[in-house]
């Protein structure tokens, strides 16, 4: 057998050579916080969802000029796309079975140790104060099952936390 025919073999051989290395995988950070929760008949939870720009670029091709440098101008032009994409993978349901609305507030930029993230600020609005709220999270799982949503909920002095994954994509939050 000629070495020329080994291309796929050798490719993997080099892959293996790199096993002993640390790597960043995809994370997003979802924070919810409750004040007293009640707003004139409705119930509101505030959210901040940080999603890595490089992850969003992979699915939405934000880098319009393809130069490998994602600028604020490019991100700003895609804000509606980002919002439409992300919120399609996040849902809140009251224990009554009624869906709560997600009201996008604003988008900012948040720097993390592994790069810049878009910070999506939003409110979750339920028509009645639920006892429990179910969170459904499916961001990126279909294209990257190693994505994780790092979830933190602040409720007064109490903090609830979870790691959202394909195996743990729906959680019940006691309010």
């Amino acid at each position: 057998m000629n070495i020329r025919t080994f291309a796929p073999l050798v490719l993997s051989a080099l892959v293996l050579g790199s096993t002993a290395r640390a790597h960043s995988a995809s994370d997003a950070y979802l924070n919810l916080s409750m004040d007293d929760g009640h707003r004139g008949g409705t119930f509101v939870v505030h959210g901040q969802w940080d999603i890595a720009l490089r992850d969003l670029d992979f699915v939405l091709t934000l880098d319009d000029d393809g130069d490998g440098r994602l600028t604020w101008g490019e991100v700003r032009r895609h804000q509606a796309d980002i919002e439409r994409y992300a919120y399609a993978y996040l849902g809140f349901t009251a224990n009554s079975g009624t869906r709560c609305a997600i009201r996008p507030a604003r988008q900012m930029i948040d720097d993390h140790a592994d790069g810049a993230y878009v910070a999506l600020f939003f409110d979750v609005v339920c028509t009645q104060a639920p006892v429990r709220l179910r969170l459904d999270y499916n961001l990126f799982f279909a294209i990257d099952p190693s994505h994780r949503g790092i979830f933190v909920m602040n409720n007064g002095a109490s903090v609830a936390t979870a790691v959202l994954s394909p195996q743990n994509a729906a959680i019940d939050l006691a309010l």
Partner: protein, 419 residues
């Protein structure tokens, strides 16, 4: 569903998260985050449209356009196995090249429906095993490779992958048998490199170099990946033998073949750090901060240069390790141990990490770190197993040998002093 609740302030929320997920939580990272404040702004709105926020793969990079073309082919024919496997393998190779684990996840998603079959195709088993091995899930990777070989005894790729896995874990007798299978299945050229790689770990670094010279000559027209692999192994041999100019020549040759390859750049950066040439590390790795492995070497170079930036680099590196712990990711002990030892100056944490790492991973760097940490923590007995391993396998390595000698001397002295 596990939602953990705790009455703690936000500053501790992340730590409690790691704990409640059952993730072993490195003392090194825990300590560091209580240190200086994050060197980042709170969420902000950039004032200028031209401000660059993030480097992303460029559409002008041929590898990126190839991935996009393969993705388009798969999207057009989602059930096409050839389209899926070539995209998955391209993702894995690109992720390795740039040091970015996202692509292992993308590859996994692409082959997921074939992996879910009762009898996954052997190529899928091997690609999935490669992904798991990349994530240090060695046991699961081994099981998939053995499953592939039960279906196809002559599958050279599976043998080569298994041989590499056994070399990473220090099971050289098994790796020897697997290299023989590689030769039988794929021919002498590839078997030669497998065997040379093994000899490098078992006291035959000179023979290894001779074999690699043969492989180099035989592979003049071989794919560039093969040639770079041979050059990399030659530089490692030369390093073990203490021939620094030869090692450097082969690193540079490998990098001429695969410029900007994360694995090769990091190996060369380690060489430069050992040779007290940190300034060159800064130049070599500039623009590659996204890769955690490259970032660690930049931090080490900053430290060697006594730069004011050390604090910032150390903070960011600690935060990245913390993010890995938070997500319940697998353990990357080699990097974490080195970080604890050289940047956090915490020998005990480094020793704990290095010992845990050495249980699963026994490449020369893993052994070296365990010895260095045992010396720094003044616990020579912690290196007993590693010293026996070195003696058994006769590893030649001019950097590791003096460490082992020093530890043996201390152990003997301690024995003599014992009642």
């Amino acid at each position: 569903m596990p939602v953990c609740r705790s009455r703690q302030y936000l500053a501790f929320a992340l730590a409690s998260l790691a704990t409640c997920q059952g993730t072993a939580y490195g003392a090194a990272t825990a300590a560091s985050l209580s240190g200086p404040a994050a060197p980042f702004r709170t969420p902000y709105l950039p004032s200028n449209d031209a401000e660059t926020l993030q480097d992303v793969p460029s559409a002008l990079d041929p590898a990126v356009s190839e991935m996009r073309a393969l993705r388009a082919q798969l999207d057009a024919a989602p059930r096409s196995f050839p389209a899926a496997i070539s995209l998955a393998d391209t993702y894995v190779a690109y992720g390795r090249q740039v040091g970015d684990a996202h692509y292992a996840g993308y590859a996994e998603a692409v082959i997921a429906s074939w992996m879910a079959a009762a009898q996954p195709p052997t190529r899928v088993l091997v690609t999935q095993a490669t992904i798991l091995q990349y994530r240090h899930q060695f046991g699961a990777a081994r099981a998939l490779l053995q499953q592939a070989l039960r279906k196809d005894r002559g599958y050279a790729q599976a043998w080569l992958t298994l041989a590499t896995l056994d070399m990473v874990q220090g099971d050289y007798p098994s790796a020897g048998k697997e290299c023989a299978q590689v030769t039988a299945a794929a021919g002498v050229e590839l078997g030669l490199v497998c065997s040379a790689n093994l000899r490098s770990y078992t006291g035959q670094a000179r023979q290894s170099l001779v074999l690699l010279h043969q492989a180099e000559a035989a592979g003049e027209n071989a794919p560039v990946n093969y040639q770079a692999w041979v050059q990399d192994l030659m530089s490692e041999d030369a390093e073990r033998l203490g021939d620094w100019p030869l090692a450097e020549a082969h690193y540079l040759q490998a990098l001429r073949l695969l410029p900007h390859d994360n694995f090769l750049m990091v190996a060369y950066a380690d060489f430069l750090l050992d040779r007290a040439r940190p300034k060159e590390v800064m130049t070599l790795l500039a623009g590659h901060e996204q890769s955690d492995t490259a970032f660690l070497r930049l931090a080490l170079a900053q430290s060697a240069l006594h730069s004011e930036q050390v604090g910032r680099y150390t903070w960011i590196m600690a935060a990245r390790f913390q993010a890995l712990a938070l997500r319940g990711s697998d353990f990357f002990g080699r990097e974490q141990a080195r970080f604890a030892l050289e940047l956090q100056h915490d020998p005990q944490a480094a020793l704990d990490l290095a010992r845990r790492n050495w249980q699963v991973q026994r490449e020369p760097w893993d052994t070296r770190l365990l010895l260095e940490a045992a010396l720094a923590a003044q616990q020579p007995q912690a290196a007993n197993d590693a010293l026996a391993f070195l003696q058994r396998n006769k590893l030649e390595d001019v950097i590791i040998e003096p460490l082992a000698r020093e530890l043996r001397t201390k152990l003997t002295a301690a024995d003599g002093a014992a009642p």
